[in-house]
Structures are given as C-alpha cells and as structure tokens.
Amino acid sequence: MKTLRIGSGAGYSGDRIEPAVELAEQGDLDYLVFECLAERTIALAQQARISDPQGGYDPLLSERMQRVLPFVGVHAGRRRLRVITNMGAANPVSAAIEVRRIAAELGLNLKVVAVVGDDVLAVLQPEQVLDNGQTLASLGDRLISANAYLGVDGILEALHADADVVITGRVADPSLFLAPQMFEFGWAADDWQRLGRGTLVGHLLECAGQVSGGYFADPGFKDVDDLARLGFPLAEINADGEALITKVLGSGGRVSRATCTEQLIYEVHDPAAYLTPDVTADFSHVGFVEEGVDRVRAGGADGRARPEQLKVSVGFLDGWIGEGQMSYGGPGAVARARLARDVVLKRLELMGVKMQDVRAELIGMDSLHGPRSSVEPWEVRLRVAARCEERSEAVRVGNEVETLYTNGPSGGGGASKSVRQVVAVASLLLPRGSVNPRIEA
C-alpha cells in the first residue's frame, strides 16, 4: 500500500526556515506544506496590498521559496516534491507571479498555481452582523478585509492541474494538509471518517515544531534534546488515513505521546466537534502509540458531515494602542514602581488624555495573571498601555512613562515607548453558495 509523506515547513508567518529546508532536502517528502496565516495576518496583508497593489503576500515568501524550490518537482531518484502554502495571504496571484520569477531565476521549470475566492469583501451586505454584535455598516471606512475560510476545493483543483506549487490565501489550516491526502488516495468529499482522520494529521502538523518538541520543554519535567536544532515534523500516511508522526533523523527536538497530545488539544474547544470547511472532525477518541524513538502512531479520529456555512474573518481598524515601560531595581523597587504607576495614571487623568481603556501593571509581579503574594523581586518593570481612538492621544501614554526619568520616583531606567494601530478581527458565517473558490494558473 502506498505511503504518502507530508512535511510541515512553517507554523506561522515568521517561522524558522532552516528546518523547512532540512525537510525538503532530507525528508523524502511528497508534499511540503507552509501554514503562515494567523487570524489577523490577512488583514495586515490587505493593508500592505492597499499601499502596494503587487504586495500583500507573506514577507518571507521569497526567501522560503529561494531555499526550498531547488528540491521541488521531479528529480531523479527522489519522490516528486510539491509545495502547498497559504503564503498568498491577501494576494495569492501576485505571490504566484513572484514564485514563478524565482523558479525561472533558479532555472527550474515548475507549474505554480494560485487559489483565489476567499476574498468575500464584495459579497457581504452592510446589514450583516459580526460575532461582536456590530454591523458591517457601522465599521464604515474602517473595514479592511473579509476572507472566508476555504476548504480543500481550490487546492484539489490545482493538484489536478498538475501544480508543483499551490499558493492560497485564507484556507483552513488543516485543509492545506487534507487536500493532498484526498488527491493522492482518491477519497470522496463525503468520506467523513477518512476526512476526519486526514484532518487530524493536518491539525497535528499545522503548527510545525509544536508537535516535534517546540513549545514543550519544561526543564526537569519535560526535557527536549537539542532544542536549538529543532526539526519540523512529517507524517507517513496510508490510504485509510492512518498516520505516523515523525521527523528527520538526526534533527533536534522530540516526537512523543506527550508532544502529540499537547498539539491534539491546541486551539480545540469540543474535541468531538472540530469544525473545518471540509468535515466536522471528532478527536475525542484519538490515541497515540510510540512505535520507536520520535515515531508516534495517531489513531481513533472520526468525522461527520461538514458545516453548511463557512466562517468569514473580518478585519477592521480599531484605534491605536500607546504603551510605555520603565524598570526599577534594588531595595524598594516594587514600592517605587507602584508609585510610578500611580503617578502616570494620575497625570494621564489630569491631562485629559482620551483613552477608551487603560491598563497598568508591574512586569515580574502581576502583568500575566494578576497579583500573587511572593517574595519581593530584585527588579520589576512598569508597563502602562492604553487604547485610544486617535494616534495623537496614544502617543501621550508612552511619553508620560518616559518622563518618569526626571519627574518620577528615584532610579527608573530603560524607558521604552511605542504606538501601534489596532487591526481587530471579528467573524461571521456565510452560506457556502456565496463563496466561489477557483484557481488562476
């Protein structure tokens, strides 16, 4: 029986490139998948596209492709390697043009196909209501983007068109991995059990290093060998969707029952109903068996009919966040940092800075989970952050922290300040019929 080998080359837009190159070179792969779109990434990319109509794709696309394309396609004595990625972000067509340019530069003859149709901004109606209760109309010109989570359809079409590289915009993360399994094994679109199994493989791989020892080490409790040379994962899959998770021999990291279990539950709510555009996957009876060093068999996934509606992620501008930080150390550090906090908050009030929300905390004391009694730390860092409608108001927040140098308690040091525009994300549901995934070769 044929075994399909799919590797995971990125778990987010800024992920490390070296482990992906290692997989492309030594993974004996059929497919290398790069998942690079977080909830908000596409809205930021849409902003980039507004300022540059040829832009709006992943900033690391070119570097990644320059490094892995030499291994893609047909090479004597190797499996044919294909790439599937959502690095097209807000502009898959321009991303495909860029990849074709790089392939030509490298002297490679590769077919690069873009999947489009996720951008549904033009389809939405002003009266539609977001999950935060706002209507689209109320967002006015602050509305930036609306992208439906596509499933496998467009990718399948691209693979049937014999693409070596498939570039998408918003596609549900596991679908990037499910599509090649359906294509290679000929699974029907309503073979819910196999689609559920294939979705489990996608879910385990979609965050790359998070299943192979990344985001796992807790010294003395959970140790990971050679984390510095962390290898990214790959799955060996058979025609029934049974899979073994492993990584390249000799790479750092670890694949174990524990790493797989952490990733199984990561960003899952009800494990019996993991919704994707392709299937309602059931992970509630998944189990893992270690079959060797860094070799874990995953089993027990199931599936039911897919949801009738598609989730749409809507990006919009939502004001500005201004922030300032200042450190205090030595005896009395906490008391001085608390005084500094009170002084800054009072000054912001006296100056009438227009803030929708403000937060002040001491890093090292209460910034992550609120206060908890403990020994006095040797150093703490004051952080004040506020959300403002206007940029000019947000700027004043960081400034008021910085002025603690000459206007606050003794011994503050290392001031920093920043202002950033808030690109918020909300969602709504759209009937499948309103969304039309298609390829542009």
Binding site: L264, Y266, P271, V286, R359, G370
Partner: protein, 106 residues
C-alpha cells in the same frame, strides 16, 4: 502537591476564548485530575481574569490521552487584536494553572 508535578499543559486561543489542556504524565493519575480539576475549580483559579458576564468555563474529557480540556470564554478580553495585555494570546495561562494545589490522600 502542585498540579505541575502530575501534569503538563498547553494553551491555545481563538478570538477572546482560551483553551487550556491539562495532561497527566501517568495514566494512573488521570482519575485524580478528573475528580479535583472541575470546571468550577478552574474558574475560581482564574476568577480575577475571567469576565463575569461571559459564558461559564467548560471542561471536556479525553480519556484516551489522559487529558482534560478547559475552555474559558471571554478571558482574553477583546481577543489578541484588541487586548491591552502583555500576553494578549493568554499563552502563559496554562503554566499558571499548574501552580494549583491538589489534595493527595495516602
């Protein structure tokens, strides 16, 4: 005994909801986790962070992998994009929960 000794954890985020897995290192400790780590106990642990107006904390059991999954609606207060929190994703929440004290009877 601290939960940290018996279990490990990872935290995920979707919108303004956080999910925290608690996974027993040893299968034999899983019933103890099921018994003591109720949704109410986790909600109480995070009472300073949870939005009182949000839906209650839910717990799901995954016996085949000796794990519990806690879903905490609203805890990210506006979600990754709007939150003023330093850790807007709430990635550190699971590690904090491992500080919870379990009652061990000999």
């Amino acid at each position: 005994m601290k939960l940290h000794t018996l279990a490990h954890s990872r935290t995920g985020d979707k919108g303004d909801t956080s999910n925290i897995s608690i996974i027993a290192y040893r299968t034999e400790d899983y019933p103890l986790l099921c018994e003591q780590l109720t949704a109410e106990r986790v909600a109480e642990f995070f009472s300073g962070l949870l939005d009182p107006g949000a839906a209650p904390v839910r717990r799901y059991e995954l016996p085949n992998v000796q794990a519990l999954n806690f879903v905490l609606p609203g805890i990210l207060r506006g979600g990754v994009t709007r939150s003023l929190a330093l850790d807007a994703h709430g990635k550190c929440l699971g590690s904090a929960l491992l500080d919870l004290e379990l009652e061990i009877q000999n």
